[in-house]
């Protein structure tokens, strides 16, 4: 294998196209399509009594109005529970259109199709629905109290009780030298891709087939869901994810009601139909994440070493559980991060509320888990008067402890075993990068300017690259072009670049010759999807395997032509050559032509492969038994279990005590995703993750009021940070290759977001000397905090904090 492109900071090949407006996003497709709009519940919990469409019927250009009554067959049944789990004892999902009771503001009740979106919205505005309002449950505390219920038949509002433990935690706590308990909260945020969801469907009546474009992270599974729900055979449905303007998790959920209803309408109307989600719809009818209440009890010794950890989490899963309990499992199993914790118990109660569903958003339960663990570490340090970095160091899993088997079950149903890592070295790098030990001088300098400076840190471990599998197809054309396709989709991560690097490196071709297609079921039918930082690990290895298969075949064919041993051949710059023998070579594109014996010379290149073009071996058939024409190969990679990436963030905040504005002065990241295919792309992923981590810590929250109305459902009031709010990021890499896959890769997609809130909370607490028990925190809340009777805290070195204390 030539390693020319592997590990190189190759520039993203997709960027030019995407940046100059040549991307093809969902709404760029089908300008002649009919448009759908939805009437959505204005109430968080209400019974639909009557739907009066009469006024809408007069709207010129109206084509169809659908309510639950119009759904037939499997479409009239509840949406699937995508990830069943034995502990998800009360799973509930909605219907594509509300059947009886709307369970959150934004749930779709009526679908309107018209000649364009303007008219569809005009008609939707004229539909009158009468409701009986029902009591509303908002927030984990109200759900736990269960004074009111979300689903009649779930009286305690508990969808799942997830429970895992590694030993007798109560005994271990009783035997611990010291213990303490505390409770803290984490707020809701959301993926918020720039492009919302969207679906375009075209029904071919003569062929009885359906083509669907969806802005999804899982086109193969959307295809299967549509086939099932619309009672079509699989080969009659194709689903394509075009350019997708970000996903971050929300588009892994499927089938969204619209992914079924738009194809249904296209089929019934015999015309293309399109729905493009608008921003308000995205706020109130897609998915959110992250709200939890965490009750933590820890036992530790005089040196701050943890002897037992017991966590009870109340997790808000919103109105339904289509995505099972993946997020709570992630919190429960990833909470301990890089620490060697002898006895651990996690119990998560996943509860219903009358709010938008909660499904994975980049990090998927891990930011909350890290928040729980790292706030615990800070407290132990404070209780024992030990430097926060030192307490962490004392608890780290040591390099000789890998594979580190937790005795827990991870979100892929497989044992939670850390495959590799070097956490002490990682923490050492972080301390250097942020100059942890030199912080006292910086703090003094800031104090002289009247500012409060604080420093915080938070490491994490992230299980990445879960199975079950991904595949890839690699084909060399007679033109020399190399096609790579995966069923796995892209949402802007850079797969076009990274997969091309892998194929080019394996095959020995120039990068420009490689063309990558992702998420198109016409090209590749078997796939799982893009989530859980798995593309590079799972598809990456599959691409390498498929390319290797192509190479083997190419060398075999070339060996015959060059009358050489395949073992003596190499491919470089698209030329197959005998090692050390200049001139003895054949272009790979010619090998591709020769791989396919032809009768017809449809072009100049093809002539070489036709029957009279040269002497053949008359003793063998043109295509050998067991062989196939063409220079292509399909292969799959199915990991034994997840790989475990790691990282550590440190942040320095500066707070103005006259305005309580919080500025991030420095943000340092040490990142370990095993072997790196492209450091530039990894850094980009880290930057993006940090931006979302900063957003979640300081800006974003879903502000539901008591009636279940989302009061900030626009970019005016839901504050995603601009580039002006996102700090520069200092990155240092570490590489502990995964022993689980041949390329040594671990995932990198979600990492950057995970420890943001934990590290920033630690730094703010350090600056102001007051206990932070909830994130995010804004200046007005910080002002309230410092004036409240919140507990005063003092950190030990790097320099006594607590200017306010």
């Amino acid at each position: 294998m030539t390693t020319k492109f592997f590990g190189e900071p190759v520039r993203r090949r997709e960027d030019a196209r995407l940046i100059i407006g040549q991307g093809r996003y969902l709404d760029d497709i089908g300008s002649g399509a009919y448009a759908a709009a939805f009437v959505r519940s204005p109430y968080a919990h209400a019974r639909v009594l009557d739907i009066d469409v009469s006024a809408a019927m007069d709207v010129e250009g109206l084509l169809a109005i659908y309510t639950y009554e119009d759904l037939t067959g499997p479409l009239a049944e509840p949406l699937p529970v995508l990830i069943p789990h034995p502990q998800l004892t009360a799973p509930r999902t909605g219907y594509p259109l509300v059947k009886d009771v709307a369970q959150h503001v934004g749930e779709p009740i009526v679908m309107v199709v018209a000649t364009d979106r303007y008219i569809a919205e005009d008609a939707a505005g004229l539909i009158e629905i009468s409701y009986e309002e029902l009591p509303v449950v908002v927030g984990v505390d109200a759900a736990e109290a269960a004074e009111h219920t979300v689903h009649d038949d779930v009286p305690d509002n508990i969808a799942a009780r997830h429970h895992q433990e590694t030993g007798d935690v109560e005994a271990a706590l009783a035997a611990s030298a010291h213990t303490f308990s505390f409770t803290q909260y984490f707020e809701r945020s959301a993926s918020m891709p720039m492009e919302g969801k969207g679906v375009h469907a075209r029904w071919d009546d003569a062929d009885s087939s359906l083509r669907v474009y969806s802005s999804t992270q899982a086109s193969t599974s959307v295809r299967a869901a549509i086939a099932a729900k619309l009672e079509l055979s699989m080969e009659k449905v194709e689903v394509i994810a075009p350019d997708v303007g970000g996903g971050f998790g929300v588009k892994i959920v499927h089938p969204w009601p619209e992914e079924l209803l738009v194809p249904m309408a296209a089929r019934r109307l015999g015309h293309e139909v399109k729905w493009t989600e608008d921003r308000r719809e995205h706020f109130i009818s897609s998915a959110h994440e992250r709200q939890q209440r965490q009750e933590i009890t820890v036992g530790y010794d005089d040196d701050g070493r943890i002897t037992a950890l017991d966590v009870l989490v109340w997790h808000d899963n919103g109105a339904y559980t289509p995505y099972g309990i993946i997020v709570p499992i992630n919190t429960a199993t990833q909470l301990c991060g890089p620490y060697d914790i002898p006895v651990y118990r996690a119990r998560v109660n996943s509860v219903y509320t009358n709010t938008v569903i909660v499904t994975p958003y980049r990090g998927a339960g891990r930011p909350q888990g890290t928040f729980a663990m790292e706030r615990t570490m800070d407290r132990i340090a404070q209780e024992r008067g030990i430097d926060r970095a030192l307490v962490r160091e004392r608890n780290l899993i040591q390099p000789d402890q890998f594979p580190y088997d937790w005795g827990l079950t991870f979100q892929d149903g497989r044992p939670l075993i850390y495959d590799s890592g070097d956490y002490p070295a990682m923490m050492a790098k972080l301390k250097v990068l942020v100059d942890w030990d030199g912080f006292a001088a910086r703090r003094a300098e800031a104090e002289a300017r009247g500012k409060l400076l604080g420093i915080g840190m938070a490491p994490y471990v992230e299980g990445t690259g879960p199975g079950p599998y991904e595949g890839a197809h690699v084909q060399v054309l007679g033109s020399g072009k190399v096609l790579v396709s995966t069923g796995l989709t892209s949402q802007g991560q850079g797969h076009e670049t990274v997969f091309a690097q892998l194929a080019a490196a394996e095959l020995g071709v120039p990068l420009e010759d490689v063309v990558v297609t992702t998420g198109d079921t016409r090209r590749f039918g078997y796939a799982v999807g893009t989530f859980a930082s798995r593309a590079a690990v799972v598809s990456g290895n599959a691409v390498a395997l498929a390319a290797r298969g192509v190479k083997e075949k190419a060398l075999r064919i070339a060996a015959e032509v060059l009358e050489a041993d395949p073992a003596d051949l190499e491919i470089d710059e698209g030329l197959v050559q005998v090692k050390g023998t200049p001139g003895a070579s054949i272009p790979l594109r010619t090998v591709a032509v020769l791989s396919n014996p032809l009768r017809y010379a449809f072009d100049e290149a093809a002539r070489q492969a036709t029957q009279f073009s040269g002497p053949g071996d008359d003793s063998k058939p043109p295509v050998a038994v067991g062989d196939a024409p063409g220079l292509e190969h399909t292969d799959y990679y199915s990991p034994l279990r997840s790989t475990f990436a790691s990282g550590a963030h440190a942040v320095v905040v500066e707070i103005d005590p006259a305005t309580w504005e919080i500025a991030i002065e420095q943000y340092a990241v040490v990142h370990d995703c095993g072997t790196i295919i492209n450091p530039m792309i990894v850094e980009g992923q880290v930057h993006g993750g940090v931006a979302q981590g900063v957003g979640g810590a300081l800006y974003e929250r879903m502000a539901y009021d008591r009636d279940g109305q989302l009061t900030n459902a626009s970019f005016m009031d839901f504050l995603m940070p601009y580039s002006s709010e996102v700090p520069d990021v200092d990155i240092d890499h570490q590489s502990t290759p995964s022993p689980l896959n041949e390329l040594g890769i671990k995932g990198a997609g979600e990492a950057g977001v995970i420890p943001g809130s934990a590290a920033i909370a630690s730094a703010i607490e350090d600056a102001v000397g007051r206990r932070i028990a909830a994130m995010p925190i804004s200046p007005t809340e910080l002002y309230d905090l410092v004036r409240s009777d919140a507990e005063r805290v003092t950190n030990s070195s790097p320099h006594d904090s607590g200017a306010m204390a």
Binding site: W660, Y699, D784
Partner: protein
């Protein structure tokens, strides 16, 4: 998020604008830069029957800076005002405040007069009009009249101009002699509407003692508020004036509401802080201008 149906006309003279506004009646709305109006339309929070686009009316895109002040035409974009050194020379607050309006893309399209006509108490230029004791020129079928800021702003998004009318310009009086100004605001994110902002003017006497200190605030009330803070600092030498006391005075004078981004108390804190900081800057500038 598509607007309800509306009609559209783009007249080429003020008289025509008024004719259309008269004939279309209640449902007609003037369209300037569209940066406030079009989002309202898209969210169907406003559904005018006709948009009367004034962008093709000649002559409204002029800034004229004279000794007495700066007149800003109805089609002058925020960016144009921000870039005008002539305007800044006469009334430095114009550039200082405009720099805080939104982001470049919005400043390139949104108009300063539009933001005043929109009467958003979170707008920078409404506060500046108030602080400078400015006025607007309004054209109606009955003729043109000048309306002082105090009579113009009635409430959030509400002005005293009703019926067929178009604001032709806004007039910002010049900075008086021996005076300095400053403007500062706190927004959750750079370029956002401020959770609190303050513009101030400090005037000194010939002995460089404070003779007047006035401040206008944004996002603290229903209309732009101007408060006279002179009492806290009157007669004090500018170099040692107790600006903090003026900030505290202001804190007691405002009565803001709380919202998602700032509690009422927090806004009061910001009023105190921003007042003290801007007054110090304005005092220093006034001192420089008081030879």
């Amino acid at each position: 998020m598509k607007p309800a149906p509306f009609g559209y006309v783009d007249p080429t003279s003020v008289d025509e604008v008024l004719d259309v506004l008269t004939s279309e009646g209640e449902g007609a709305k003037v369209l300037a830069g569209g940066q406030s109006l079009l989002p309202l339309l898209s969210m169907r929070l406003a559904a005018p029957t006709t948009l009367v686009d004034i962008n093709r009316v000649p002559g409204l895109d002029q800034i004229s800076a004279g000794r007495d002040g700066v007149r800003v035409g109805a089609l002058v974009r925020h960016a144009q005002l921000l870039a005008s050194s002539e305007a800044a020379d006469v009334q430095p607050l114009l550039g200082r405040a405009t720099a805080n309006v939104a982001h470049p893309a919005i400043r390139n399209r949104g108009t300063t007069v539009g933001s005043i006509a929109h009467a958003d108490p979170s707008g920078e230029m409404t506060a500046v009009l108030a602080l400078t004791d400015g006025s607007v020129t309004v054209a109606t079928p009955d003729g043109r009249e000048t309306i002082g800021w105090g009579d113009f702003f009635l409430g959030p998004l509400e002005t005293s101009v009703h019926g067929p009318a178009v604001v032709l310009d806004a007039f910002f009086p010049a900075l008086p002699e021996r005076s300095g100004t400053a403007f500062a605001e706190i927004a959750r994110r750079k370029g956002d509407y401020a959770v609190c902002g303050a513009g101030v003017v400090v005037t000194l006497d010939a002995d460089r003692r404070v003779s007047s200190a006035r401040a206008a605030y944004l996002s603290v009330g229903l209309v732009p508020e101007v408060h006279d803070l002179t009492d806290a600092v009157v007669g004090q030498p500018v170099d040692t004036a107790d600006w903090t006391a003026a900030g505290e005075l202001a804190r007691g004078l405002v009565d803001p509401d709380g919202d998602l981004h700032a509690s009422a108390d927090y806004r009061r804190l910001l009023v105190a802080t921003l007042t003290a900081r801007t007054l110090a800057d304005a005092g220093a500038e006034a001192a420089r201008r008081t030879a």
